[in-house]
Amino acid sequence: MMLTESPIRRLDAKAPGLAEELKRDLDIDITRCLECGKCSGGCSYAHGFDYTPRKMVQLIKLEERGKLLRMRALWTCLSCQLCLDRCPSSIDMPRILDYLRGKAYAERLNDVHPEIEKFYEIMLSDIRNNGRISETLMMARFNFATRRYFSNADLGMKLFFKGKLKLFGPKTKNLNSLRALFAKLLFRSPAEQEPS
């Protein structure tokens, strides 16, 4: 007789210790987490996350590596550091997320959210070509690439009339040193491969 898999999530006692890995590689001790949620209530974008920072810590404790590497919040976190600043135990969540993004790239899980991947790609190529970003052009290219021709248009117009968006992006003077920087990065880390 075949045993059907239980629909109830089961803790895997044999899972490799993600908490131990973070301790070893980053010297971050998530056992200090008080499960208080102070990180999440103040997070710049937790209302748009699939997992709030407190839940991310919990995912680490539960060895939910797959969920962590596939979650949208991994790519939508703004690295604003507010969670770290507020945390009573100084748990460096932005650093943990950096680390996990590296893992996600290494395991080629970076494009499980194609539109987010596209956004990064467009942004990076803008930086590479001009040294800076033109928000207007970037937004347009992003909407075009993801076929959401009118999304964000409202917000875009508002920003434009407030003088926040410039139609033509500024260029950086010293593009050569920037190219050198990219070359070095691309050479050193397979995680930052050239967008195809």
């Binding site: 008080l34 499960e35 208080c36 949620g37 209530g41 709030t52 507020r86 009573p88 135990s89 100084s90």
Partner: protein
């Protein structure tokens, strides 16, 4: 020891009062020095009390009456003990009173009962203490409650209570739990609902600690009967919005960031040692823990050193009944010392 042996009790809060009371009732001599004019310390500033909704001023009146009738107890009000040293078994203390007079006195035993302070919550920029007038600490809120009871100023309508402010925080505060704030926050929110039933009170908590006789029942009655809302999550920040205080937090039970607008925020600030306690401990060579609370000798709850005892908040956060019990225990130690071998 000679019949004239005297104990010096430093601090006339509930702990020092109880120590003086027991010594006096036993016929022993003691000087009770209190920096302020009135006795009672922090308890004299409280509007109500856990775990029985009694008026804390009734308790102080009773204790003070009892003290007044004792011939061997002298009470020095407005008198701060500014220095102390031990020479050949006798303590020589210096004092200064509020009119600037100074003096000295001798004693054969000392009970330190200098109490505690509250952590300065302005260290948390995100909570706006010291910036927004509607953000107060827990002791200031006792005064808000008193003002309402006395008809001086009406209670704000909706109130948020933040627990563990400066406690259980190793980044900006202290890692320890301040022990009394879960209970007095329940009391304060319950009192606010009593005084103004149409108000909404939210208590933000990580967990609530109610380990004491009748404590759990007390907190449950605040939630179930007084209808105080307990919200699980440590608030992240307070911002001003249209003249109201907007509290941002994650409800950690549903796991969503949320906000609520209130008229007042009450911060349950951590219990910390008084600077006066540190100074006295230094002068007497007493052992203190890493924060500055007095440490007990192994095997005793209230003995700090040969002939030196302590009681109440100068040792650690403690509720009124515990402070009294320690005061009585310190008095028992002094009696044992002064009456070595027993009177014939």
């Amino acid at each position: 020891m000679s019949e004239k042996a005297t104990a010096l009790i430093i601090g006339g809060g509930i702990a020092g009062m109880e120590a003086a009371l027991k010594l006096g009732q036993g016929g022993y001599r003691a000087v009770l020095a209190e920096k302020d004019h009135s006795l009672g310390g922090t308890v004299s500033k409280l509007c109500s009390s856990f775990p029985r909704w009694e008026d804390p001023q009734d308790l102080l009146r009773l204790k003070e009456q009892q003290l007044q009738s004792l011939e061997t107890i002298s009470i020095l009000r407005d008198t701060e003990i500014t220095g102390i040293e031990k020479k050949k078994g006798t303590f020589h203390a210096t004092w200064k009173n509020s009119s600037g007079e100074e003096g000295a006195l001798n004693a054969q035993a000392v009970i330190v009962a200098t109490g505690f302070d509250l952590f300065d919550a302005s260290i948390y920029g995100e909570y706006g203490y010291g910036i927004y007038p509607g953000v107060v600490n827990s002791l200031e809120f006792e005064q808000v409650l008193k003002d309402h009871t006395d008809g001086k100023a009406a209670l704000p309508r909706n109130i948020a209570f933040f627990k563990c402010v400066g406690s259980r925080d190793r980044s900006k505060g202290h890692p320890y739990c301040s022990k009394i704030c879960c209970m007095y926050t329940a009391k304060q929110a319950g009192t606010a609902k009593n005084l103004s039933p149409e108000s909404k009170c939210y208590v933000f908590y990580m967990d609530y600690r109610a380990a004491g006789k009748e404590y759990e029942e007390f907190v449950r009655s605040v939630i179930e009967e007084k209808q105080v809302r307990y919200v699980r999550g440590r608030p992240s920040k307070v911002v001003m919005e249209k003249g109201q205080l907007l509290v941002r937090f994650e409800d950690t039970l549903i796991g969503a960031p949320m906000e609520v607008a209130v008229d007042m925020v009450v911060l349950a600030s951590a219990v910390i040692p008084k600077p006066a306690t540190r100074r006295l401990a230094e002068m007497l060579g007493l052992k203190t823990d890493e924060y500055g609370f007095i440490e007990a000798e192994y095997g005793s709850a209230v003995k700090a050193q040969e002939n030196i005892f302590f009681a109440g908040g100068c040792g650690f956060a403690v509720e009124t009944i515990g402070a009294s019990a320690q005061g009585a225990a310190a008095a028992a130690e002094v009696m044992a010392l002064f009456n070595k071998g027993g009177k014939p």
